[in-house]
Amino acid sequence: MNRMFAIIEREMRKFFRSPTLMIMSLMMPIMQLVIMGNAFGGKIVGAKVAVVDYDHGPESVRLREAFDSIAANIKTFKTINYDDEVQAREDVRTGRIDAAVIIPAQYSRRVYAQDAPELGLVVDNSDQFMSGSLEAEMQSLVTALTSPVIQPRLANSIALEIVELYPYVNYMKFLLPLTIALAMYISVMIGGGMLYIDDKARGVHEGYLVTPITKIELVFGMNIAGAMKAVLAGICITVIGSLMAGLGVIFHPEALLELFCLIVAGSIAFNGMMFLMMVRVNDPLVPRAMFGVLNTLLLYPSGGMYPVAAFPPWLQAISVIDPFTYCVHGFKAVLLKDGGFVAIQYDLLFLFSFGIGTLLIATPLFKRTL
């Protein structure tokens, strides 16, 4: 047992004296949270929309006043007057403006005559986010303009009442579960993967192998140390990320305990997976070449960015065996939904089982000799 603790002691001393590992496993996920949280979470502001008015009637003036109201208040877009529809289309195509609204001749007359009035909206649909936002904004504006001034006493359309269970979740909060899982993964990737192979190549393992340490002590020593590093990374990112995203859940003891359990389970799962992959590798280039691909392979199918239901069946199959999926689901359940242990019990079960299972497979593959 003491020999196993000697391995853990050595690994932990190295961890605390190696700023590179700490910075990489803590700072990179934080940077990702900040950059992606701000890059994807924002609303469109100040888009340039051309207005080509062939009508110049009272209804087109009303429409333009509505545009000005948007430009002055929520500032989604501002309008630029164009005389020529062809020029407006060309400018949308070349990216000088983001969209163009065409008000056709006789628009006001058709509105008053209730004769199927139409407006044209030219958008650049190669940018789905921008075009989608402008389309939605224009649609709500048109709906508001066409709604009757006096509402009917009895509503004749089906109303959908939307009940949101949780407070508004901005993108930074949404990304936090993935970021915590990523921090643990990076810690395992560097501490359990790259450094493990580097130690092998430098002959450090040769030094271990000539001592009376048993295979089990060696395997468990290295894996417990690897998992401990991942747990430390997970705790740091959970606290820092929650404070940055404005989540007060970390101040609730029960939620803290749930988070700690998830972090430990996730760390064991990631570490077991990494050890299984690296157990027979000797070339230090292999983990470096592997990790870029592995990152993509595991991160994206997890449902941390896009819902798993949107994936094709083969990608959904990957997400079923991907420990990231369960980490992200568990962290979401605790951080964003306050779901309690009931919400994370299957995640914990999978992550612990996955970690122990991979370790059980890897242990016989570990060679006690060179």
Partner: protein, 343 residues
């Protein structure tokens, strides 16, 4: 094996290491081909050979790092294959590479290895003090290993191998990569350790001087075979010719080799490069005179001439037919130019 006089260990109780017909195969490649030898208690035994000869493979088999394909190795009375843990408890191993952790301090490195050998706490503290004293690193005990020089790091490796008080010490090329001053310091330290701790040592090296200075007996290994075994003196005496004369002529002619072989007392002539010959002779002084006279009679110039006793280099060349490693020849005696000769 074209054996030299071999001093075998008299009885098993006096033997620390016994290797019997050990073979190591990697697929079809045979790295070690049926090597046998034994090392007596308290002896320093050297495995000498060029890179790729099989020295490290042999030492790795004896230290349980790689399995033996055939044969048997008994270390400290335990079979390496059947009872590797018992062997590991009795041995200290210094690998070829510097494997101490650069991020840890000297003391931490030693402490962790002592723990890996389950040395009790009180004993551990005492052992660390003792080995640091023995390798003269006491005042560096708190220094991070990465701040030490190459020689100091090698001394730390040696201390690490001793921290659990082993009976047998294996050193794989312990001075490789060290400057000459550090190398001599390590030799002195190993000699002191042998005397004070009564250690049996088995070291591999490709430095002739190291083997000559440190080892009680030397085994020469080449292409996985043990080609010679004996004390340094026995090995040197086994080579015909008492002296080696190294002669460098100004220009090469086809007749030099034949003429040199014809000189009185010469037992063999080896051409090293153009105009440069190593001549094994029973009388260095007589052959030197004859060489000077021969060159003068032919009107040739001797660039350099040196006489020395037979070295392990000559032993190695004698048994393997090639040099251990390329070395610059340093003549001990330069012939003055003949009066009137062109520079």
């Amino acid at each position: 094996m074209s054996a030299v006089a071999i001093r075998a260990a008299s009885a098993d109780s006096d033997t620390s290491i016994k290797v019997e017909n050990v073979v190591k195969r990697y697929g079809t490649f045979e790295a070690v081909k049926g090597v046998s030898f034994s090392v007596a208690n308290g002896e320093i035994f050297g495995l000498l050979g060029p890179n790729g000869a099989g020295k490290s493979t042999l030492i790795r088999m004896m230290t349980t790092l790689i399995p033996i394909t055939g044969g048997k190795a008994i270390v400290a009375g335990h079979d390496v294959e059947k009872d590797p843990d018992a062997v590991r408890r009795m041995i200290g191993v210094i690998p070829q590479a510097l494997t101490s952790d650069p991020d840890l301090t000297v003391e931490e490195n030693l402490s962790i290895y002592a723990k890996l050998y389950s040395v009790p706490r009180a004993e551990r503290i005492k052992n660390i003090d003792d080995v640091l004293e023995a390798v003269d690193l006491t005042k560096w005990r708190g220094a991070q290993t990465k701040t030490l020089s190459g020689g100091m790091r090698r001394r730390l490796e040696i201390a690490r191998g001793l921290v659990h008080n082993p009976k047998i010490f294996f050193l794989d090329e312990p001075t490789t990569g060290l400057d000459p001053v550090s190398r001599v310091a390590v030799w002195e330290m190993l000699d002191n350790l042998r005397k004070t701790r009564h250690l049996t040592m088995l070291l591999t090296t490709h430095y002739m001087e190291e083997a000559d200075k440190l080892c009680d007996r030397i085994a020469i290994v080449d292409h996985g075979n043990l080609v010679a075994l004996g004390t340094p003196i026995e090995l040197k005496n086994s080579v015909p010719g008492a002296n080696v004369v190294e002669v460098h002529f100004d220009r090469e002619t086809e007749s030099w080799h034949k003429r040199l072989e014809g000189l009185e007392g010469v037992t063999s002539v080896q051409a090293e490069s153009a105009g440069f010959y190593r001549v094994l002779t029973s009388s260095g002084s007589k052959t030197t005179m004859q060489l000077v006279e021969l060159a003068a009679s032919l009107g040739e110039t001797l660039t350099s001439l040196s006489v020395q006793n037979t070295t392990l280099d000559d032993v190695f060349i004698h048994y393997t037919g090639r040099q251990l490693r390329d070395e610059t020849v340093k003549p001990v005696f330069m012939m003055p130019p003949r009066p009137g000769a062109q520079p």
